[in-house]
């Protein structure tokens, strides 16, 4: 079985203007969404706070739960369904270092409205403000260090402009995924940072496959236009690109639909990331190489 009987001859570079504008537009929409939402929505990992997941035997009325929480002064908590009507997620802004289980406290406030054995505290996550700040700094640092390490490696293996192109592509991917997160009103947590680093890795993987071909073809046919070399390289690797993205997507989609609520946002980020990462290695990273060359060509004249 083959996707293409012969090496295809799509003119990707001819579409570069449209692609650039499209990317800018999508990124802009994301940024506007983030601005409208007043910044990214941080989960408790970064903002600090307490999260309690409750499981009820029968679907509870959210208002009744809120009333119960009010009796212990937690009326302003965010309460939302989590996966099914029987699961509730209660998020409290505060995080207390006291030796008291907030889960038990919340459960006790609901006894009377519901039978004690019908409420199960499934998960409690409390992150103090100090830890939240630490984690935030660490997350940013980890992304920065990862990018630095990768730039050094690519500059060494290829040339500097390839490193710049790869980084631009992955910043593009991260921005778009962030925008999608904001549009879907999803929370930014530690696990999502892991997803972002995965996207960075994946996007690079894809970009490097194309770059590798470009490097190889440049050696072979020295005098052809860079634009044509790039087009040929993308076309030569196209069936691989489709196959790999396809199989990865297959797995990620399975995870998204069946992996359960806890891993849902993670797989959502990956799904967007894989799609955008594939697109960007063709239309952002490679296109940037063409722009770079035309600029340095002008300088020489």
């Amino acid at each position: 079985m083959e996707i293409f009987k012969r090496v295809p001859e799509f003119d990707f570079m001819g579409k570069r203007a449209i692609a650039t504008w499209l990317s800018c537009a999508v990124i802009l929409i994301g940024i506007i969404s983030i601005a409208v939402h007043g910044g990214l929505r941080y989960g408790i990992d970064f903002a600090g706070g307490t999260l309690v997941q409750l499981k009820f035997k029968n679907p509870p009325a959210i208002e009744e739960v809120r009333d119960g929480l009010r009796t212990i002064g937690l009326g302003d908590s965010t309460i939302q369904e989590f996966g099914s009507k029987n699961h509730l997620l209660v998020r409290v802004e505060r995080s207390e270092g006291k030796l008291e289980e907030i889960g038990t406290k919340i459960k006790n406030s609901l006894i009377g409205k519901y039978e004690a054995e019908n409420i199960i505290v499934e998960r409690v996550e409390m992150v103090g403000p100090k830890v939240g700040k630490d984690l935030r700094e660490k997350a940013i640092l980890s992304i920065v260090y990862a990018i630095i390490g990768i730039v050094i490696y690519i500059s060494w293996r290829f040339e500097f402009q390839y490193a710049v192109a790869a980084i631009i592509a992955l910043i593009h991917d991260v921005l778009i995924t962030m925008g999608a997160f904001s549009l879907a009103d999803k929370e930014f947590t530690l696990v999502i940072v892991a997803a972002f680093l995965t996207i960075i890795g994946y996007s690079l993987n894809d970009t490097i496959v194309v770059f590798d071909r470009i490097r190889e073809n440049m050696r072979r046919k020295g005098k052809t236009l860079l634009k044509d070399v790039i087009n040929a390289s993308i076309n030569q690797t196209l069936s691989r690109t489709i196959l790999t993205s396809g199989t990865t997507l297959l797995v990620v989609v399975a995870l998204f639909f069946l992996g359960g609520e806890i891993i849902h946002d993670f797989s959502f980020a990956l799904m967007i990331g894989v799609l955008v990462g594939t697109y960007s290695s063709i239309f952002i990273a490679s296109v940037f190489l063409v722009y770079w060359e035309s600029r340095s060509a002008k300088k020489r004249v």
Partner: protein, 518 residues
Amino acid sequence: MYTDLKWKIPLILFAILGSAYLAYPLKDKIALGLDLQGGMHLVLEVQTEKAVEASLERIADDIKREIEEEDYEVDRVRADIENKTVTVLMVDAIDLKPVEEIMKNHTAYLQNEGVVREGRGYLFRLSEEEETRIEQNAVSQALETIRNRVDQFGVSEPTIQAQGERRILVQLPGIKDADRAIKLIGKTARLDFKLVDESVSPQTALNGAMPEGDEILYEREENVETGEVTKTPFLVKKRTVLTGETLSGAEVRYDSDFNEPYVAITFNSIGAMIFHEVTRANVKKRLAIVLDDNIYSAPVIQEAIAGGRAQITGQFTTEEARDLAIVLRAGALPAPVVILENRTVGPSLGKDSIEQGVQSILLGGLLVIIFIPIYYKLSGLVAVTALMLNLVLLLGALAYFGAALTLPGIAGMLLTVGMAIDANVLIFERIREEVRVGKTVRAAIDAGYAKALSTIVDANITTFIAAVVLFQFGTGPIKGFAITLCIGIAASMFTAVFVSRAIFDSFMSRKKVANLSI
């Protein structure tokens, strides 16, 4: 021809069988993370400044006593917590000279900052080294104490370790009663015996007529049925006559009349001596038993008690009495701790997560396993075989490093599967290209592997860089993801490049293949 197979095949077999041995049976060899089996992840911070404060106050007390023992008149010795200083103030400036002599015992950690208050006193500052030493001590002692408590509580395979300068990480897998565990671990458990001052009523003292050297502490009583808490004030001497440091044992007993649990404590020889002394000197007075500034009981001393035994009564359930005995035996924390981070997952949620996670992976994996052979025919089967071996290697390595399998870890495995497939796709597409330009099967395979190799290496190394950074900076769940990814990348390079090649080669060495099934 293919002579290198002679060492390649044994190497591959060794790696695979070794991994299988390490990982089998899976249930025993691979620990599940807290998110999958349920459990508690706590990060505590030792409030080391409290330990410094306590030391400073103890130093001030010691100095005062030493000066008084030499029969000089002390105005006061005051510890200033904020500035970490101790001021020694004499009634008469003449007495300052002998104080200097006495202070020689303390110069190791107190620096003389000069004369104050018209020559009546000295100001001493706690040295920074001493402060650091006290803080480090507090953390290591707290670590030890918590370890003791957890051991006595009985949790299988707990993790208790220092994190950073003043943090302690506690992981208790499979714990059911999180509430109880938190109380047990986090309770300071400072036991003090203090004499009750009955010269004035607590009410008068609260209204402002507090006798010098006294303080108000409360006895809390909870009505089991209504949950109402009543607080009874007691006026006690600030000075602690005896502390929990002198305990040699604590255990739960039941009183013979009502069968109610209480905690019987035993003092060591020094404690027993002091206890005897205190009770002898204060017959008919009340002695308050104070735990973390809460009065548990304040019995009247009927007679001098020799033998160093006492009991702590209160409204205990058996469980509470048991936990109290544990914390008393394990000793007090040198300073209070606060919880910085608490992640507790109930066992049922853990089970649900693992089932869903595993199912989705199996399904995703299955789709890939079906699809690849359809697309690449027999060569696809080779890739799938390599993929399976990749998983075996991955599990073996996880078992070897003792890394726990977490939900993000499963996601990492998934990503590895994707990368392993990608490596084979890259190789196979290259081989097809080579076949198209008319190369022989063997030449096509050689060229395909050779040309795809640099791409695969570059792609994997960049992802590896990201994974290593994640491992360095990530905490908890992210670390699990990073380590699986790191191992996975290494394993997939080995299987997708080395093993799949060896499989091809061993086919080719048996018979002449004219057409490659790819």
